[in-house]
Every structure is written in C-alpha cells, then in structure tokens.
Amino acid sequence: KPISSEEKDDVLLAERYLRRYYGMPAGLQGERKTSDVMSKKIREMQEFFKLEVTGKLDDDTLEIMEMARCGVPDVAEYN
C-alpha cells in the first residue's frame, strides 16, 4: 500500500537525522539493505535516548528526532 506523504516526510526526516548523527551511509544501497541499515541505526538512536528499542519509526522516536539539538553526532569517530 503506498505510504502517505506524511509518512514519507517522517522517513525523510529520519534519514537525514540518522545520516547526520548516527553515521548512516548516504546513497542508494538497494531497497532491502537500506531499510536494514536504517533499522539498525534507529535501534542505536533509541538505545541512546532510552526509548523502547524497536528499530521502527514510532511516535516517541520521531518526537526526539524533531527536537532542537546540538549538531555534534552521538556516535561518530573523530580523527
């Protein structure tokens, strides 16, 4: 079933967020792989913020993603 544009916006927001703060690789990697990577990164994020770890974009996860925050990644390597 096609996702609504609101759901699409949520996915875009999450992708941007996870790329910036959780080192999710950008670019096309095949549909299946992208969603696996995203789910893994969502889990990392949920664990950090002590949310329920589901790997899914639920309301609580999106709420944190929408909050104003510092731009330093939560998990990045610094060289």
Binding site: R20, Y21, F48, F49, K50, L51, E52, D60, I64, M67, A68, R69, C70, G71, V72, D74, E77, Y78
Partner: protein
Amino acid sequence: HFPRDLKWKTTDVTFRILNYTPDLKKADVDRAVRNAFNVWSRVTPLKFKKLYEGNADIMISFGAREHGDFNPFDGPEGLLAHAYPPGNGIGGDTHFDEDETWTKDFHAFNLFLVAAHEFGHALGMAHSSDPGSLMYPVYTYGKGYPLAEDDIKGIQSLYGENPNHGKVNPKPDAPSKCDPELSFDAVTELRGETIIFKDRFYWRLHAQMPEPEQNLIKNTWPEIPNKVDAAYENPEKDFVIIFSGIKMWALNGYNLVDGYPKYIHKLGLPKTVRKIDAAVNIRDTGKTLLFVDEEYWSYDEQTGTMDSGYPRSIEENFPGIGDEVDAAAYHYGYLYFYHDHLQFEYSFASRKVMRIMRANSILGC
C-alpha cells in the same frame, strides 16, 4: 568522551569571538560566552583567556547554512550549534546557527546554555544519554548552575578538580529506577498511563511500552516547577491536577489548562497548608484525598468543596501505613501508598494493608 579521550594539553585555553549575532547586544554575547566558560572552570583547573586577534584554541562564530566547515546548519530550529573536540586547526572551534533566535532568557534559544554545552565538546566531552545532564544532545531550558553530576565526573576525569574552588552544587543525576532506596514525589494516572514524578524527572508507564520512559519535567511542561509534590487524575472530568508548593496546575491530556496555576487554598484548604504531600482520587466515591503531613482532607469533586469532619489522622484511618505518605494511587478498590522506598497496598473495603512492596516494583524492578 570522544574516542581517544581528546583533551587540551594545557590548562590555559584561549578563545576568540570572531563575530556577533544581531539578536543580542555585544555585551550580552560576551557575558554569555564568559559565563559558559566559567561553568567548566569552576570544576576544573582550566583557565580561559580571551584573545582579540590571531588564532585561539576555541574560535567562536555565528553562521548560517554552509558556513565554512562543510558541516552546514539547517535554518531555524533543528540544529542549533556544533563544536569540534580539542585539536589543532578547527579543533575546539564552536559554531552557532545564526538562523536561530538567540536570547539571554527562557525564550528559545538561550545562548549561555547552548554555549556551555558546546564548550563541553570543545573541551573533550561527547554527548551524554542522561536527560538531566548539560551534555544531553537535546536543548532544554533550565535555571541555575547547569552541570549535573554526570557532566562533572566527565570533565574531571579529563582535567581533574579545581584546586581553588569549593564544592559546587551540581544537578543530581537522573534517578535510577531500580535503586532499592528509590522514593517517589508523586504518582498519578493520565488517560490510562501512569506518571511518576521524582526530582526534576518523571517516568511514564504505558501498557504498550515494555520499559518506563524517563523525561525531564521541564521538557514536557516548561511552566511546571522542577519539583512536584503531589498529583491526581479526575477521570470523569478528564484532568490531572499537579501540586507544587501552594500552587496547582491542571492538565488535559498532556496540555496545560488555561487559567492555572491556582492557589491550593481555592480548594478550601486552610492557609496554614503550604504543601500537599500526596493526592488521590477515589473513582468509586468521587472524593479526592489530600495528604498533608500526618493528616488528610477529603475534597468532593462534584460540589467542589471540602468535606466536613476533616482533617483526619492518617495513622488512625489507614492503619498500617505509618503517619505520612509521599504519593498515592487508586486501582480497583485498592489504595497504593508510597512512603520512602516502600509501597503499601491498602484495601479500601477491608480497611487494612494487604501487601507491602518496594516502591519501585511499579517500575518493573
């Protein structure tokens, strides 16, 4: 900390403000920056010297979108600022998003608080997952000295303690739900969820969430004080009343109701009452019990008046629970009284204590 515990090799760290935001007077920016450095110098041997030209360790600037480090900002809200861990060149540099509105008060976003957080990075601190710490990545406004125990432990493990400064009064760490000595400030239902207040935080229990969720009170309700004394839900009228000192606030769902705060004396309590310890609505009778020190009052939700014949002694009317309570809840004919680290299950019908449990058994501990 950042990987490899990056830190400055010297305790004398220099900074320079390269440009200013038009949102504030120059002097206010200078003050916010200086105060933000003082937050960290109070608890470490670090000294911060301002430079007016040349290269400083921490170069501070305001910029919008792409601002010279290939790490662009995103317009208003969202990203507020970023800083680089200690090192040469860009290391330590701190950038604020000029598309934000910078303030010196509670309006979004307070420059001092954001600067103090970013300077934490510039000194080697990574993000903390403690929602009460300054290094938590999400912005929250709060008054007073902004460091929590977690922040102080982190910075002192890099640089040591301040030999010339007495003990500071840090914000305590977020309470740990399975601490055997854990006590509660207040417990209430909220549309089927359970909300448990403790210090600056609350836990939210939801039937569909396996783990309790811990949040800062200020994060959800900036208007409510950091310390909640008591709370109860009136499910008939669909509101939750939150008490702090002599004032009370009303919630409808998670939203604050207009017209509050009101004084608790509006309920009919005498002026000598300055704080309510616990409150609970008995669904079956429509009465709300208000516990103050060793006594309790009964408030009739239908008539909006205090019942006569009160206050009564807690110890005499609820035998077995002691003479004071911290928090109270009501489920299916049972009253649950919380005092210190204990929870008393009291049968309203048979007028006796049925079980004694640890307070935090409600949190799954």
